[in-house]
């Protein structure tokens, strides 16, 4: 039972990070029908921006601000920095190809992915970086927390899970309750018709990149708080975020959240009950099974035929 609780908490932590990444894929795909393969690398850059802020504010052993403020600043700057990068990627790598065949922006996306990985490697080296989050305030993030039975739920996990959910709920509200959200949904359904209803398509697309990249930036910091990061983490994390988006129904926001959490559970329980070496296999087996037996995915749009 204790194990089960422990694995569930792991699953929720991992799953919410994957869900945040998946949302970026889904937002962009929903509007541009483009698989933004550079998205995982934006996530990686987010982790590095968080690292930079941490060092700037005195490092994990002697931070100059309280821990909660430090974490907030790290996440906020990573979100802002990644948003800027996302907008730049859209502007220079995708917009010129918007009317090109769909394979062209896809290849451009792969190019951007390599560009980000290797320019980060050039700038910061290939070695692993550790936030060393355990040193923060005598390990408060890992030792404090609350107990479920014999299992301690560390503060760090509570922070990650709850802030991820806050971000996801904000996004959902934004898309469903505000006019910007309506413009996004209109654009995703019929870009040309939306333009002719006075919606500035370029702005909507840019905004999708802002949101998606900011969420990836937050996810990057959350990821690096619990495990060391290197310039190559974007590849696998991006693949998993993409998998989560696909099994949830790419283009669907609740789908990305549920897909992300499903992957988190699959990975965590395989690690716990089978072997850590099998966890990636479990994740991608789920992808294949979905492709074979439920290609319309969990929240996939039913095809609405044109009149």
């Amino acid at each position: 039972m204790d194990d089960f609780i422990q694995y569930t908490i792991n699953a929720l932590t991992l799953g919410s990070v994957y869900a945040l990444i998946a949302l970026g894929y889904s937002l962009v795909y929903g509007i541009l029908k483009l698989l933004n393969f550079a998205h995982g690398d934006v996530f990686m850059v987010g982790a590095y921006i968080g690292f930079g802020m941490l060092n700037l504010l005195g490092g994990a052993t002697s931070p100059v601000v309280p821990v909660w403020l430090l974490l907030t600043i790290m996440v906020a700057t990573a979100m802002a920095g990644c948003a800027v990068i996302g907008v730049a990627i859209e502007r220079f790598a995708y917009r010129p190809l918007r009317d090109a065949p769909r394979i062209a922006p896809l290849i451009s996306a792969l190019g951007v992915s390599f560009f980000l990985t290797y320019s980060m490697q050039l700038l910061f080296g290939a070695e692993q970086r550790d936030y060393n989050a355990f040193s923060l305030d005598n390990g408060v993030l890992f030792l404090k927390g609350f107990d479920i039975g014999n299992v301690r739920v560390p503060l760090l996990r509570i922070v990650i899970i709850s802030s991820a959910f806050v971000l996801m709920i904000s996004l959902w509200l934004l898309v469903n309750r505000t006019r910007t959200g309506k413009a996004m949904r209109a654009t995703s359904f019929d870009r040309e018709a939306a333009a002719m209803m006075g919606i500035d398509i370029d702005r909507v697309i840019r905004f999708a990149f802002v949101l998606g990249s900011a969420l990836a930036g937050a996810a990057g910091v959350m990821f690096a708080l619990r495990a060391p990061a290197s310039v190559t983490i974007g590849f696998v994390a991006g693949l998993k975020g993409f998998t989560a988006a696909v099994i949830g129904g790419i283009g669907s926001i609740p789908g990305a959240m549920v897909g992300g959490l499903m992957l988190g559970f699959a990975e965590s329980f395989t690690q716990g009950y089978v072997s850590t070496r099998w966890s990636d296999l479990a994740v991608f087996t789920i992808l294949i099974l979905f492709m074979l037996f439920l290609p319309q995915s969990l929240f996939g749009r039913a095809d609405i035929s044109k009149v």
Partner: protein, 251 residues
Amino acid sequence: MAEKLLELKRVSMAFGGLHVVNELDLHVDEGEIVSVIGPNGAGKTTLFNLITGVYEPTEGDIVFAGRSIKGMDPHKITKLGIARTFQTLRLFLNMTVIENVMAAAFAHTRAGAFRAMLRTPGMRREEGEIRNLAEERLAFFGQRLMGYRWNQPAYSLSYANRRRLEIARATATNPRLLLLDEPAAGMNPTETHEISELIGKLRDEGGYTILVIEHDMLDHGVKISEGSFEYVATDERVVEAYLGTKATATK
């Protein structure tokens, strides 16, 4: 003499070697209902795509309210006051009835995306204003769009009501000129008659100038409006240009 709201000056459109529109002259005066007629493939919908900025004419100029709109982005042209409907209905079927109309009201509101996220009091007020505007535009269609609950998805509407909703959505952009692409296509005679009356009402009560494509206009042209019938009956330019008999308009 009414003011010229829209004027096409020797507009040509060619896709590669295919000349779809050839040196077309056309003008629509403020307060008019002008019909565009012609057989399939005559370039009627292309004309709408030229006016709304989907295509840029290969030659000639398009002037709206005294200003050239040639080569302008579609959303900017919409902001200047031209809105359209589509022959093959292009509602946002993933949204509710009222959201369709609200999305179109986006054009003339100021709120930026970040303010929208923060949900400032000014934002909430504006959101409320947009909803009011949408309700008002829907109410113009009387019982027809009232019978349905506005929060139902757009795909739950009947075919005829989808056509009405498209017109309601177009009016939410605050246009001066409405372009209606075969608004009665696929409708039965009763519904067609209702649409004809609606178009008259849009001009008389809504104050819109209207350019309408009607495939079988000659059959029920009288019903659409006297203005449009007279225009078609007395002015050979429209017929000529669209039947493709002669390139240049003559007065």
